[in-house]
Symmetry: C2
Subunit: 223 residues, 2 copies
């Protein structure tokens, strides 16, 4: 197992080099990149489907979809007229920076302001892999249970923002909102927390508008 661990270190070091290359490409092209991490079925694609019609009025968008198999999510995004590239990880439980680097060759980088990377549905593996993104967002849906913050702390600790999705289902669940807020506060007091429902759109506009404001501040010349 020692061999395995030292190899893991090599894998992470190599990943870091690719991540730095990606970061440079994002910077050169003025792209803000967001890495979306969550369990399978927490609503990453559904949130994007609701946010894109708001964001596209202000920003040029691109999406990289990561999945073990299938191109279902990329098709959903492409049907909105957004440039979407699908990465199939062929069994790997996370995206890595090299996969992203290859996907970037297929996108018109100079035309993109905001690039979403939808990671493989997983609360463990994506935590260690920097993709070169400027912002990492972890999504939890209320149906998964409030204990998931404590059980999978890494993905919440490293997040710049946390989206709590499916709040339309709160009346039918035993989900302790104050405990959720307290757990996030304890692990990651500087994370922005947004409550939303991709099903009915509640809260998606607020998050989207904050995103637009932030990017406008970052690139005031584009106003």
């Amino acid at each position: 197992m020692v061999v395995h661990i030292s190899l893991e270190k090599d894998v992470l070091r190599s990943n870091q080099e690719w991540a730095e290359r990606n970061r440079l490409m994002f910077k050169e092209n003025g792209i803000h990149t967001i890495n979306l991490v969550s369990s399978p079925g927490s609503g990453k694609t559904s949130i994007l489907e609701k946010a894109i019609p708001i964001l596209r009025d202000w920003l040029q968008l691109g999406v990289i979809e990561g999945d073990v198999m299938t191109t279902l999510d990329a098709e959903r995004i492409a049907s909105l007229g957004i440039k979407a590239v699908q990465i199939n990880t062929r069994g790997a439980c996370h995206l890595d920076a090299k996969m992203i680097h290859e996907a970037l060759q297929q996108l018109p980088l100079s035309e993109i302001d905001l690039l979403f990377i939808e990671n493989v549905g997983n609360l463990v593996c994506p935590a260690d892999f920097d993709l070169g993104e400027q912002e990492r967002i972890t999504i939890l849906s209320v149906t998964e249970g409030v204990d998931k913050v404590e059980k999978y702390p890494y993905v919440f600790q490293n997040a710049d923002a946390v989206l709590l999705n499916k709040i339309d289902l709160l009346p039918y669940l035993d989900f302790n909102l104050p405990r959720f807020d307290a757990e996030i506060q304890k692990l990651n007091p500087i994370a922005s927390v947004y409550r939303m429902s991709a099903a009915n759109g509640e809260g998606v506009r607020l998050w989207s508008e904050h995103l637009i404001q932030k990017l406008k501040k970052k690139h005031p010349e584009s106003e």
Copy 2:
């Protein structure tokens, strides 16, 4: 990456050896072992909490809980008076057969008829790792979306049974039950499929009673 892949093969070969040792121990002790696989928050522990009061009238139970961090699930099971051992994988996204072998040293094997192993919440990593179990059960909750079968096919292909949980929430969701049945039928036509709700108990009794029947047939002398 070639090195990485060949090492992966070594890891899997070593895992297989430990799995065979576990399988022998289960056989020698007349233990039926079930490996429970699902996303985080699909309801593995909640289903066990509802099934244990039914199963314990007929069978001696044991539970091994796998988690990245925390002992929350083992505490929930132990509070029902069931022997529960917690494995913390320290970052790994699945249990392996050696971890199980070590956990078995802490259980009174000769007193157990049915041993549940709750894997780490993950639809990717656990698929490749045989733990020596006789039965693998994959759980999907309706809140995760029907597309997860197609997106994470391995865990459904290798399952002996599939539990569809949280059906109490179906009225509030856009979950296509016929499509779910068709996807499972296509991937794994011999899997038994049970619909249930760990929240209100619906369907848990049927599954539990089928389990009791199966184990009684296997060990008729214990009747």
